[in-house]
């Protein structure tokens, strides 16, 4: 039996969120025999803007819910129309990115449909009974839990960066317009008015850089942490930091790696003075190769990296800098 998987395609400012593509790529690769559908909501203008990209996602079919009332994302209106589509097409699995919007939208849809929901998954598998096994970190990344659901569709949100973007075979994508009933939505929107929006400048996506050099507590000071930036520049790599380094104010939160920070997908991840707590390792599971430089031979990372070098991180960085700037 083939399963029907529906993926919510989130677009902001006419760009499809990377996590939506990551989910499609994972499902296409790992859910054998699943037919994959997409759903997107917006007004005519915002849908038109992403239509060419929508057709290149490798999906069988994209359901478009288009209405002037959906011009701006709103959790009440979007949850209402997406729930209508789900009731109509009855997918077996429904997936969404765990973005800021996704994290409020998904539970509202689940509650409307009275179905279970698993948040922020880092792994998804279909078992032999075509049930979704949704695995997520819990307790601040100290534990992993695999969750199943008794209700259909099995519904989960997926952490950004948890899945790799892979090449997926192109195919003809059919676009179907879904006529949602917007009678309730209009009343909801009257109660909610956005007075002002300031878009934040989006930092370039550094999480897929070929090489990432990251620093942690073992660098001992903010001054030493600055060396990470210089090293990254000389290596044409991107800098990153552990949670401990961020909490001490050595680095901004935007470059934090780990369960509460970013998941990264480099060819090479070099961890300088990072102990490698579980919550950090969750963020680098997709790194192809990990080098750990740490003075403490017993740090957890010395058993979980590909290459472990017991040495003083600051000394090694300084030598690298002088060699590279020669």
């Amino acid at each position: 039996m083939t399963t029907k998987t529906l993926v919510y395609i989130e677009s902001n400012n006419h760009v499809i969120e990377r996590v939506s593509k990551e989910i499609i790529s994972h499902v296409k690769h790992f859910f054998a025999d699943s037919t994959v559908y997409g759903v997107i909501a917006g007004d005519e203008y915002s849908i038109e803007a992403v239509l060419p990209e929508l057709k290149k996602l490798g999906l069988e079919n994209v359901f478009v819910i288009q209405n002037p009332l959906l011009s701006t994302y709103n959790v009440c209106s979007y949850s209402n129309v997406i729930a209508q589509l789900i009731s109509n097409i009855s997918p077996d699995v429904f997936l969404m990115g765990a973005t800021s919007n996704g994290r409020e939208l998904a539970p509202r849809i689940a509650s409307k449909l009275d179905i279970g929901l698993t948040a922020d998954c880092t792994d998804l598998q279909l078992d032999i009974d075509e049930k979704l096994l949704a695995t997520r970190p819990t307790y601040g990344g100290k534990m992993m839990a695999t969750i199943i659901s008794k209700t259909k569709p099995n519904f989960a949100t997926v952490r950004q960066g948890a899945f790799k973007l892979r090449q997926i075979p192109m195919q003809q994508t059919e676009i179907s317009y879904f006529n949602a009933n917007l009678a309730d939505v209009a009343g909801m929107l009257d109660k909610y008015e956005i007075l002002k929006t300031e878009d934040k400048e989006q930092p370039e996506d550094w999480t897929n850089a070929d090489v990432i050099v990251a620093g942690g507590l073992g660098l001992k000071s903010k001054e030493n942490f600055e060396l990470i930036y210089r090293l990254a520049e000389l290596l044409d790599a991107k800098p990153a930091a552990s949670r401990a380094a961020v909490e001490l104010g050595w680095a901004p939160q935007s470059i934090q790696v780990g369960q509460t920070g970013n998941s990264v997908n480099p060819k090479l991840y070099i961890a300088f003075g990072i102990s490698g707590a579980l919550q950090h390792m969750i963020g680098i599971t997709n790194a192809q190769k990990i080098i750990a430089v740490n003075i403490d031979k017993n740090a957890p990372i010395m058993n979980t990296a590909d290459i472990a070098i017991p040495a003083d991180a600051v000394e090694v960085i300084n030598s690298m800098l002088s060699k590279l700037s020669d």
């Binding site: 959790v75 409020e104 509650s111 922020d120 819990t138 209700t151 909610y192 070099i270 058993n303 017991p310």
Partner: protein, 267 residues
């Protein structure tokens, strides 16, 4: 008319010592517990609303074991006016959907004339952030998540600052509405009157019957999601240890690996 706010709080374990029950849920009894840090942010916002309005009452509500009365007492001491504990064996094992149902039944039976519900963004023991949205849907009211501050409030509407990774907004919302806040660990200055009142205020304990809950929709029975397996993840690679005294040689070795990685083309 008194402006009525419900603040939902959760008692969470304050320890790394995690024990699991036979149902693969957290064994909560006997654990050192605190109010979920985001829920203290919610109490702070409720107090900010009360500060701007003449006639306002804050009700703290929690679902959990009898032990959660302690957290509610603490909420009273922080300035909440009254407290309810939703406690019933039939609530045990509730996932976020069942929890939202129980909380909505409390609202429907005991606080139907509320103006605002304020919640913490998420509980630090589950990190799902699902209950506030799920509850707003059950009550069919508008919601704002990721709220960082209150701008203005009157009886009919309020204006809030919302902040996500990609945008900042100011949003005006008509009451009744639900707000969930990302303020974590607000510092609430103790005031002696609240403290004294907390000592003489009883926490009202309500069972499933008292909130007219259909127990097929609560607890394990009413929870569609189940933990199939809880585990410490195996993060293991075949580690190669390079023990080298000479820093220069270490550097050469690292630079070689970098070169090799950069040259390799892959998928």
């Amino acid at each position: 008319m008194t402006f009525k706010i419900a603040v939902f709080i959760k008692q969470v374990p304050d320890t790394d010592d995690i024990r699991w029950t036979e149902h693969n849920t957290i064994q909560r009894e006997g654990l050192e517990s605190v109010i979920n840090p985001y829920d203290i942010g919610a109490i702070q916002l409720a107090k900010n609303v009360k500060f701007l309005l003449n006639d306002c009452e804050i009700t703290a509500v929690s679902m959990g074991p009898m032990q959660a009365q302690e957290s509610l007492k603490e909420a009273l001491a922080m300035g909440c006016d009254n407290a309810f504990l939703l406690c019933d064996k039939k609530f045990a094992g509730s996932d976020t959907l069942a929890t939202a149902y129980v909380l909505s039944q409390f609202i429907n039976t005991h606080l139907n004339d509320f103006n605002l519900i304020i919640c913490g963004y998420q509980a630090v023991d589950g990190d799902t952030a699902q209950t506030p949205s799920s509850l707003a849907q059950k009550l069919n009211i508008p919601q704002i998540t990721n709220v960082t501050a209150l701008k203005d409030v009157n009886n009919e509407y309020s204006i809030w600052f919302k902040e996500t990774n990609s945008y900042n907004q100011q949003i005006k919302i008509q009451h009744p509405a639900l707000i969930s806040t990302t303020i974590k660990n607000a510092e609430i200055l103790p005031d002696i009157n609240s403290y004294i009142r907390a000592n003489s205020t009883e926490v009202n304990v309500l069972s499933a019957d008292a909130i007219m809950a259909d127990t097929l929709k609560t607890g394990f029975a009413g929870s569609p999601t189940q933990v199939k397996k809880a585990f410490r993840p195996e993060i293991k690679r075949n580690t190669k240890l390079i023990e080298e005294e000479n820093t220069d040689k270490i550097v050469d070795c690292i630079l070689d690996i970098i070169k090799e990685c950069k040259e390799r083309d892959d998928d």
